[in-house]
Subunit: 197 residues, 2 copies
DNA sequence: AGTTTAAACGGAGGCGCCTCCGGTTATCCG
DNA sequence: CGGATAACCGGAGGCGCCTCCGTTTAAACT
């Protein structure tokens, strides 16, 4: 009925003026980079400056820091989910699964520092998290199903189990070897999943 | 051996200069009032001003807002615990118990708004909470025991049960009738506890 | 009492948060 | 195309955070 909605992030995009839309997008983009690099405590004035807008503009688009964090967070989650279909197209089912898990871990890594902000966000807006985890679950589920259908991996593993195994990474202690550790864990999981030929 | 340690709050009070000690005490006092009245987000500069010291002095004594919150929190907890013995001396055992529970509820009430700050504090310094709840537990236990020994209340109630019942107040929804509600709950508990004569 | 000195004070200053409102501009309509 | 106007922009300003360092002062010693 309505015209296509190509952008994933912007559910009921209420006819924004062209400049407003431009600024909004630029802000999210810059914020995503800034949060990733310096954590969610980065100066919002810096973000506004880098985006080439005034601080007032930032605050009109995102009434509070948490709002901005939420939008960035959701955008990345959606990116991660849509990467699943993309990977499935370009790789063999098991490779797609493995690569996706790697990215998932990388994504989690960037979120470790901001536990507090996320917790605040979580208590005040739990729908975001349920939707978000739904997206992730769906992505993983479809990768898993495809791989199983092709005979690459065993069938008797539930999405929930694997998700749980991956989430355990989140509670691993912070350390320099964190990255290797998590990659080893993924390797281990994949070895367990793959069917012996 | 060493000279008496009358003040409860100041474990290893490392020989502070007289002015320093004065300022420290005044700050805690003022902060307690300010937090109670306006929540933990109150301006620290206001607190310093009301205490008649410079902001620099406040920050030397309490490196961060959380430090100050913690000291105030602990002080109030200790006050609550020591109120138990005081009440026991002035009232009949069951009255002492009832009045103490009222105060406990009042104390909790002031802490409701600052859930976030307390959570941060909790994750970074869990010893405070275990010690704190130990104090409270001890106070309640002794009141309960005295009352039971005097035959005012039944013996078959565990401290933990009662504590749990009281804690449930914390999760009651915020509302105007909150206070009456909690008092009714205490009345109910006391009725259940008291032995029929 | 006078001297010394390390501990303590305090506030200026730089930064970030957030609000408010006068100025700008995209968009609509004749 | 030009004018009207509602939507949007931007940054000054007020406030609070926290640090840094020159000044003050308690207290130890002579």
């Amino acid at each position: 009925m309505a015209s296509a909605e190509p952008k994933t992030t912007s559910p009921a995009s209420t006819r924004l003026r062209a400049d407003a839309r431009r600024n909004h997008e630029k802000l999210v983009e810059v914020a995503a980079a800034a949060f990733a690099e310096k954590g969610v405590e980065t100066s919002l004035e810096d973000i506004a400056r880098q985006a080439g807008v005034g601080i007032g503009t930032l605050y009109r688009h995102f009434p509070s820091r948490e709002h901005l964090v939420e939008v960035v967070y959701r955008r990345e989650l959606e990116g991660l989910a849509s990467a699943a279909t993309e990977l499935a197209r370009q790789h063999s089912p098991d490779m797609a699964l493995e690569e996706w898990m790697r990215r998932f871990v990388g994504y989690i890594a960037t979120k470790r520092g901001m536990a507090n902000s996320l917790r605040i966000l979580m208590t005040s807006n739990s729908s975001l998290f349920s939707e978000g985890s739904g997206l992730i679950r769906g992505a993983l589920e479809s990768l898993l199903k495809t791989a199983a259908d092709e005979g690459c991996i065993r069938r008797d593993i539930e999405t929930t189990d694997l998700l749980h195994a991956l989430s355990s990474i989140y509670s691993m202690p912070e350390s320099p070897e964190w990255r290797e550790r998590s990659h080893r864990l993924i390797g281990l999981l994949m070895d367990g999943l793959r069917t012996r030929r």
